[in-house]
């Protein structure tokens, strides 16, 4: 199995797994107790979207890590390979970021009675992260592919990554409406129940397979695009016969 085929295989496997876990999450996952650990849920059944929402969020952080790697490597090495990772990171950041900020409001509408809380740091910083990824996607397509363009966009990529720890820690540092997700610290009495946690980790594992598949495919695509661009430049040099 070559590199490209493994990308397709992982992507299809990840997609099938996500569909499977969504059905399991809706039909068979254990429900939440209406009141746990001192707080009560307004819509305990709506929590099931968590099996998509949280893996989307974690994979979004992974995307921004790829973007960070690409940006940093671009500054250090100015290599085409670094730029490939930059582009893939930005694209995946859009995909998974949009996954987070569309699945979240569905749950919030049921739980809080409103889709968005403008005062919540986690929500707003995630929206900002996705906006940065979207900016990188459109800017890259609409600008001439010069070193200056790449330098500028890489700087934005680094800025985007700086938002990741702020976003990740927002629920701990600024305790507002968004619930804190406890996985490692969860026990029988604190945080999420072991059944829910297992389901969540399986779902995250499958989302990681999808993420890896998309990353491989995206990298392959941008390597091919770079080759096509080189070939076009050669044809430009050949002039008119």
């Amino acid at each position: 199995m070559d590199f490209r085929e493994s990308g397709y295989a992982l992507t299809y496997l990840g997609l099938a797994g996500i569909v499977f876990v969504s059905i399991l999450g809706l039909e068979y996952a254990p429900g939440l107790k209406p009141c746990t650990g001192g707080g009560c849920w307004g819509a305990p059944e709506a929590y099931r979207i968590l099996y998509l929402h949280v893996p989307f969020a974690w994979c979004s952080f992974l995307s921004f890590s790829v973007l960070f790697y690409g940006s940093l490597m671009w500054y250090l090495k100015r290599s085409e390979e670094a730029w490939v990772y930059f582009q893939s990171g930005a694209d995946l950041g859009v995909i998974f970021g949009l996954g987070v900020i569309t699945s979240g409001p569905i749950w919030a509408s049921a739980e809080w009675g409103r889709p968005w809380d403008w005062g919540d740091m986690r929500l707003n910083s995630f929206a900002l992260l996705t906006a940065v990824a979207l900016f990188l996607l459109y800017s890259r397509q609409s600008q001439p592919d010069t070193q200056q363009t790449r330098d500028t966009l890489s700087a934005v990529g680094l800025f985007g990554f700086a938002l990741v720890p702020i976003t990740a820690g927002a629920t701990t540092w600024w305790e507002t409406t968004h619930p804190e997700v406890l996985v490692v610290e969860s026990t029988e009495t604190v945080g999420m129940s072991p059944d829910v946690r297992s389901f969540l980790l399986i779902s995250f594992g499958l989302m990681c397979i999808l993420f890896t598949g998309l990353l491989l495919l995206s990298n392959k695509r941008y390597r091919l695009a770079a080759e096509v661009s080189d070939r076009k430049n050669e044809l430009d040099q050949e002039g008119i016969s």
Binding site: W118, Q141, P144, D145, R231, K232, L235, D236, I240, S241
Partner: protein, 480 residues
């Protein structure tokens, strides 16, 4: 050999026909007269080289012939159709140069277009039917076949110039009727092989009976000319006839005529590809909605606060309307707007302002604002407001046309980026206040169609009329 002989004969017959002429052209730039009573004519079947030192007015003459500059005296007439029509005159009459080919000194293209779309778009604007096969063939001949689907912003300067030159030559090459090509420094930035192709095309177009005017400093381009016209610093024209021995290039066969709404298609296509208009309007409106929501939480839902709540409800939609439309940014790029203005003639400003409208966002934004801000307002009043909010959205859509026209006025200035154009937009506060008053009335007393000042329907009508007047002022006055 027979077809060649016939073609030459046709060229000889049509060569006597004047296709484009300027009479007594006076063009000022501030207190300086750039053109002083210039008489000029371009006939079919000839390539005319326009020479002159820097600042002598070559580009101004060429662009005036394309109808781009207001003139204090004189007129430019086109004679390529069955009747003589005005391109532009000192009285303010404007026509179009549909069917002409125009290449400005700068590219006149938006970077978001692809190479193929640009050439096809130029042909459509000139009223030619789509012939993708011929266009791809031409692009391959000009070394652009592998770039056909690339955005223009991704091309090097030389390749961009090739596209700009082609977008002037191809529409005329596909036209079976004698037409005009206006080229300003076309060989600037072109490599040797591209220049060779350009010269071959110029000769071939002349042989088909088209008239070509080329402003140039390039000695190689001058060898392709049948006549050299030199313009002095005092706008005196001297001409010298010469015989060009250059080989002609193979041109594509002419195709049939077909009308297109290309400006609309162009604007929609670019917005789909790079939605800077939707994002540029939507993001400030959402931020305004957030602020409005935050402010409104401290406001008691009682009748003395209805005016404030009404203003907060209308603000996000109002903001979508006054943001600079993306079409104006696209038209400012590399003088793309001048190219479109020349091609679309008298109605261009009106069309540009209509194309700059915020058509979709005001409606959802105004309902979303009401949903967020209304809170626990009584259900009777809520249903009355919900029933009539679309009318406010409609006026805001109109308002965005006026805002767009004001932005266009500013963008016409040479250094539009150095102007605080937002100050002009403040005039739109007036219709906004009228709408606020109308919404407050509906919130307090329900909708009323009574024709008296202070009644909601009249307030909305005044807001709408104000907007229409502003639009007319911004569109009509600058057009001479």
């Amino acid at each position: 050999m027979e077809p060649l002989k016939r073609r030459l004969l046709v060229a000889d017959i049509v060569s006597a026909r004047t296709l484009l002429s300027a009479r007594g052209l006076v063009v000022d730039r501030g207190s300086r007269k750039v053109l002083r009573g210039v008489d000029f004519s371009l006939s079919g079947g000839e390539v005319v080289g326009l020479l002159g030192v820097n600042g002598s007015g070559k580009s101004t003459l060429l662009e005036s012939l394309a109808g781009l500059h207001p003139m204090s005296q004189g007129q430019v007439l086109r004679n390529d159709r069955s009747i003589e029509t005005t391109v532009r005159d000192s009285e303010g009459q404007r026509g179009d140069i549909t069917g002409f080919g125009l290449c400005l000194q700068t590219e006149g293209m938006s970077g978001d277009e692809t190479v193929f779309e640009r050439i096809r778009g130029a042909c459509r604007v000139a009223g030619r039917a789509d012939n993708s096969k011929a266009l791809h063939q031409i692009l391959s001949e000009w070394g652009l076949g592998h770039r056909a689907e690339d955005r223009i912003c991704k091309l090097s300067g030389g390749l961009r110039r090739r596209v700009a030159v082609l977008s002037a030559l191809v529409p005329v090459a596909l036209n079976s009727e004698p037409s005009v090509v206006l080229l300003d420094e076309p060989s600037e930035g072109l490599d040797k092989s591209s220049r060779g192709l350009l010269l071959g095309w110029l000769r071939a177009l002349a042989q088909r009976g088209h008239g070509i005017l080329v402003a140039t400093h390039d000695p190689e381009v001058i060898t392709a000319c049948d006549k050299i016209v030199t313009i002095s610093e005092t706008s005196e024209l001297t001409s010298e006839v010469q015989h060009s021995k250059l080989e002609i290039a193979n041109l594509p066969e002419p195709c049939s005529a077909e009308s297109h709404m290309e400006l609309v298609t162009w604007a929609c296509r670019l917005e789909r590809r790079n939605p800077i208009d939707t994002i540029g309007r939507g993001v400030p409106a959402l931020v305004a909605l957030l602020l409005a929501y935050t402010l409104s939480t401290d406001i008691t839902r009682s009748s003395e606060n209805y005016d404030l709540l009404a203003a907060l409800t209308l603000t996000p939609a109002f903001i979508t309307a006054i943001v600079t439309p993306a079409i104006i940014k696209r038209l400012s790029e590399e003088r793309a707007g001048d190219w479109w203005r020349a091609m679309s003639g008298a109605g261009s400003r009106g069309w540009f302002s209509i194309m700059g409208v915020s058509l979709i966002l005001p409606i959802p934004m105004i309902y979303l604002s009401w949903y967020v801000i209304a809170g626990d307002i009584s259900s009777t009043m809520n249903s009355d407001v919900m029933l009539w909010l679309w009318l406010f959205a409609f006026v805001i859509i109109d308002l965005s046309v006026a805002a767009s026209a004001l932005h266009l006025m500013v963008s016409d200035l040479t250094r539009s980026g150095a102007v605080a154009g937002i100050l002009l937009q403040l005039v739109l506060i007036w219709p906004f206040l009228q709408m606020t008053s109308a919404l407050t009335s509906i919130m307090s007393n329900g909708m009323s169609f009574e024709l008296a000042l202070g009644q909601p329907f009249v307030d909305i009508a005044i807001a709408w009329l104000t907007v229409v007047l502003l639009w007319a002022m911004a569109v009509i006055i600058p057009e001479d």
